[in-house]
Point group: C2
Chain length 290, copies 2
């Protein structure tokens, strides 16, 4: 006769943060607002997507974004440029779109090729149409809590935290990663919500000692399963903004899940929120510009 199996002390406990479901709701809302705007003003929100070259992943991303636009009743205008496009040509294209009254939002799919000055390209996007939140202006308005567009992934993360009722004021948020479109802006948004914010990165000494202090831990480092359960304070909220080949996040989901109270899966967590935010911000831009 065998003894009954005891429950594993590392059984999953974290509740999942369902980004797919919330993103669907956001896209529905964006669709309703787009339809209303069209009825009221005769103008339909329009997102210009700009792609340089034919990198397969980039092609797929742009296609996905345009298809989601279509579902939401948002027009998209696609500009496909050859891989050999120069910085000056790309800047001209983006300047023309910035000046075009028919276009409300502009997305430059990035990274662009190494021969292009990506920053110069970003800065050619008018702040009022920067629905992907990549300009200096958008970064600063995010950082200062001023009117402006947010980087889509950071804004999507905040929306997800709000949806799940995660208290931020006075909490310690630790962001692992410091990229211009993810780590840095998400830290600034969390700071704007009165969290105490720590930025960790590749040069951080004793990373685990810092991440284990986090009430909210944001992984934005781009290394598969880089953060494990050992990095996580019991009960922490874990946001995995990583998206590595093979649909693998920056967090080791199985071990993290045994420590966290709330966690985003990959896929189906942060990813869908990014596109939903892009759509929402495109409608915002159209409402303001109309």
């Amino acid at each position: 006769m065998t003894t009954p199996a005891t429950q594993s002390p590392t059984s999953p406990t974290a509740r999942l943060m369902d980004g797919s479901a919330l993103a669907r709701r956001m896209v529905e809302e964006a669709a309703e607002r787009a339809a209303l705007l069209t009825r009221r003003t005769g103008r339909t929100p329009c997102l210009a997507t700009v792609l340089v070259g034919d990198d397969p992943a980039s092609v797929t991303y742009v296609r996905m974004k345009r298809s989601r636009c279509e579902q939401a009743g948002i027009r998209s205008r696609h500009v496909a440029l050859p891989a050999a496009t120069t910085t000056a040509e790309l800047v001209d294209t983006l300047t023309a779109l910035s000046d075009d009254p028919e276009v409300h939002g502009i997305l430059l799919q990035h990274p662009v090729g190494p021969h292009i000055d990506e920053r110069a390209a970003f800065e050619a996007i008018a702040p009022a149409k920067d629905v992907d939140g990549v300009t200096y202006h958008s970064f600063a308005t995010m950082s200062f809590g001023a009117d402006g567009f947010a980087s889509c992934t950071p804004a999507g993360i905040l929306r997800l935290l709000d949806h799940y009722g995660v208290e931020l004021a006075g909490k310690h948020a630790v962001v692992v990663g410091r990229s211009a479109i993810l780590g840095k802006p998400v830290g600034m948004l969390l700071l704007g919500r009165d969290a105490t914010v720590t930025y960790c990165h590749s040069r951080t000494t004793d990373l685990a000692a810092l991440t284990r202090q986090a009430d909210v831990l944001v992984a934005a480092v781009g290394r598969p399963r880089f953060l494990t359960g050992d990095h996580i304070k019991p009960g922490a909220v874990v946001i995995d903004a990583g998206y590595n080949p093979g649909n693998v996040g920056d967090v080791d989901f199985d071990s993290a899940r045994t420590r966290a109270s709330l966690i985003t899966p990959v896929p189906g967590g942060v990813g869908p929120m990014t596109i939903a935010t892009l759509l929402t911000q495109t409608v915002d831009a159209a409402e303001r510009l109309s």
Copy 2:
């Protein structure tokens, strides 16, 4: 007969970071470069100072900056506007200075009155002349390590740290305060130098537990003697960027000095570095614009 007095266990140990001396050197260097530029191009660096109203402290600050300019052979052009100046009038003034080829740097003394949209005014300063580092563009370039001007106090702090050979990479820097021209940018500059950076502020829970982890502690909170020895890890480098009435910093100098390895005095620490940075950046601007 009395026993000999034992040495106090809290005797001062920290070495002082002499901002006055370093600032003097910087002003001398700026003067040499200004003279060289004048000889070579016939153009003397020129800082436009703009003051709205007659707040006594602001009047004093502007006078001090102009007098320091004069010492360094930098021209200054002062624009005094009445207290009742509107946002639109101030924006017009700053736009005209931005367009004026005779002016290389622009300083808007702030805070301006509450009836003025300070941000709108700042944004009227051309980034190439934003030698005080107050525009969105400057904040973003500071944050991303790109070419651009830095906020003067944060840049002065970094210069002071470098001068005293303080290693930043991999160290934990804790910034107390999150203002747009001090706390936020100094954190971004430290992050750009590979420090792990924590932002604390008025909503931070258990401040001392965080500040006691700091290898480098920056006080930028604007409350007299707010941080004491108890907030400081033994051996930490303490930067007091506070400047409260009566020449009092944000750090309680006497208790902090017994714990820190290096500390800035108030006055004579960060303060002089701010003006020296302003002059240096004005010369930078003139060299680039000439």
